[in-house]
């Protein structure tokens, strides 16, 4: 599936952000995302704007907002007909992720509540140079803002910078992936990690990894 950065020669649907009608709730956003990702061409700017135009309403995502004392939780919301994964991540105060890549997929991250801080990193150079990873700076995202990253842009660490408030983020990954790499900031060493979920579709799934086939049976 191709993902392009700006509108092509044809005026295709789902490319011009000006045509976006803000979804009234999360279900409408998901419905629209299904349509957008059904086509072979997906426009990064369009998807970013679409996700940003949905005004976060806790009633929509409250059932996915599960916080853990020790680490952030991943809660699968929708499996996008195999074209994308949509999940809600819940960050307790000061919780953060490792530096990670995105397995050649595209990652859109929208803040649903609180604040999210993203620190970008350059890919570590070849295996000989065992040195500290280079930071490309930090960005703070507020409620309803959307961040985008892919492996060509670089790597990142995401964290909740607040010591008082929790944070909830909505992530879309396309194509879906079950494995990526996490990096040691001090050495650049990478290791493979599995994407696991605290819950899927609102149900608790201990140690559950991504289901290999998310396409429903055609009965």
């Amino acid at each position: 599936m191709e993902i392009s950065d700006s509108g092509g020669m044809e005026k295709m649907k789902y490319t011009d952000p000006k045509t976006i009608v803000p979804p009234k709730n999360l279900d409408e956003l998901i419905e629209e995302l299904h349509k957008v990702f059904d086509s072979d061409h997906v426009n990064v700017e369009y998807v970013t704007e679409l996700m940003a135009s949905y005004k976060s309403n806790p009633k929509d995502w409250k059932k996915f907002a599960i916080f853990d004392l020790h680490r952030y939780t991943r809660n699968l919301v929708d499996a996008g007909n195999g074209k994308f994964n949509l999940m809600v991540l819940c960050w307790n105060t000061s919780q953060g992720s490792a530096i990670h890549d995105h397995a050649n997929a595209h990652c859109f991250m929208k803040v649903l509540d609180g604040h999210s801080q993203e620190e970008l990193f350059e890919w570590p150079p070849g295996s000989e140079d065992d040195g500290e990873m280079k930071s490309k700076g930090k960005k703070l995202y507020e409620r309803d803002q959307v961040a985008y990253i892919s492996d060509t842009i670089g790597l990142h660490r995401v964290e909740n910078p607040s010591h008082s408030d929790t944070s909830v983020t909505l992530h879309l990954y396309s194509p879906p992936f079950s494995e990526c790499q996490s990096f040691d900031e001090r050495t650049g060493n990478a290791r493979k990690v599995q994407v696991t979920f605290w819950s899927q579709f609102g149900k608790r799934t201990p140690c559950a990894k991504l289901p290999s086939s998310c396409v429903p049976e055609n009965n």
Partner: protein, 356 residues
């Protein structure tokens, strides 16, 4: 911080009838419709309002279990608060409270299990808090606290201690006495070292130390059963430190070493008490293959250990001689079975850690 595993809705033991939620309004006092239900309300949720002070009418809510006044403009807590004898959870995040805002008899709220004062202006850790013997969760993140009191050890039931985002430079050894602690958050401070007594926290599952001034860690840290450890942004030693200064041992030390290693027998009649005391202060060389001991002359050695599969930790250890870095300085032909078992366990643990 949200509770253990919690969702955005209120506590499970409470239903709509017992909850008074008037959050996200422009209230500066408790509304009449909640005052009239005061006796039946178990949970009073008033965050995101315009309260400048807590009215005396708070004492009408005699059966209150939970009170949330976060995100208001409070600078003081009234003594009437202490009449709430059943209060279990008090949340007053993001206000303008300081240590002097806390009533001196605050410790009488003995039923308190959860206390959250994150995002205020505390510069001093209020001593009254350490009188709350039933406290399970204490959240003081995002304040300006520069010191943790030794009396922290009085909070014997504490399971969660959150002190991230303050001005701590050290951690008292007494923290090791909080046996039931499962989560300890100390990130975003100016902490330079971690006490070895942390090893006693056998129930600790997560330890947050990122964004501090820590350069080495006590070796005991690898023996904790942690599932989460954050260490980023500390000036951790990156390379092996080859030659640290080594003071040659004194004659006293050398004699002491021989007595201990050769297991020379001595009794009250043989030695004065000050020498017997000296001999009993011998420390084992941390190199498990070395049977050596040291008294005061030791080599600081930084050893790297892979931990949690994510980090290479620099651990500060003491060796009895510079040779111990690679080969043991002292061999023993015979050995205690007890010592061998300890040794085997320590080696097994290290191997597990090194293999990730």
């Amino acid at each position: 911080m949200a509770g253990y595993i919690s969702d955005a809705s209120s506590d499970s033991e409470l239903n709509g009838r017992n909850t008074g939620d008037a959050s996200h309004n422009s209230l500066s006092t408790i509304p009449d419709h909640l005052i009239s239900r005061a006796k039946e309300i178990r949970s009073l949720i008033l965050h995101h309002n315009e309260f400048l002070l807590i009215p005396k009418s708070i004492s009408l809510f005699g059966n209150l279990l939970t009170l949330d006044l976060s995100n208001n403009h409070l600078t003081d807590l009234p003594k009437e608060l202490i009449t709430l004898k059943n209060l279990r959870k008090l949340v007053v995040k993001s206000n303008g409270l300081t240590c002097s805002s806390i009533p001196k008899d605050f410790g009488l709220l003995s039923s308190l299990e959860e206390l959250n004062f994150s995002g205020n202006m505390f510069e001093v850790f209020p001593p009254q808090f350490t009188e709350l013997s039933r406290l399970k969760c204490l959240y003081l993140g995002g304040n300006c606290i520069s010191e943790m009191p030794n009396s922290i050890k009085n909070l014997q039931r504490l399971e969660v201690l959150y002190l991230g985002g303050n001005r701590l430079t050290e951690v008292p050894a007494e923290i090791g006495q909080l046996y039931y602690l499962i989560s300890l958050v100390l990130c975003d401070n100016h902490i330079q070292s971690i006490p070895p007594t942390l090893i006693h926290l056998r129930n600790l599952q997560s330890l947050s130390l990122h964004n501090n001034q820590i350069s080495t860690l006590p070796p005991e840290i690898v023996r904790l059963n942690l599932s989460e450890l954050s260490l980023r942004n500390n000036p951790l030693v990156n390379k092996f430190v080859q030659d640290m200064t080594y003071e040659p041992p004194t004659l006293l030390e050398l004699s002491g070493r021989v007595v201990k290693i050769e297991k020379v027998k001595y009794s009250k009649e043989d030695l004065p008490s000050n020498l017997r005391k000296y001999l009993s202060s011998a420390q084992r060389c941390v190199n498990s293959k070395c049977k050596g001991v040291y008294f005061t002359s030791r080599v600081e050695h930084v050893k790297f250990v892979d931990f949690c599969g994510k980090y290479r930790l620099p651990l500060l250890q003491y060796l009895c001689s510079p040779q111990c870095r690679t080969t043991p300085a002292v061999y023993h032909s015979s050995s205690d079975t007890e010592t061998d078992e300890d040794e085997a366990m320590a080696n097994a643990r290290l191997r597990r850690v090194l293999l990730g």
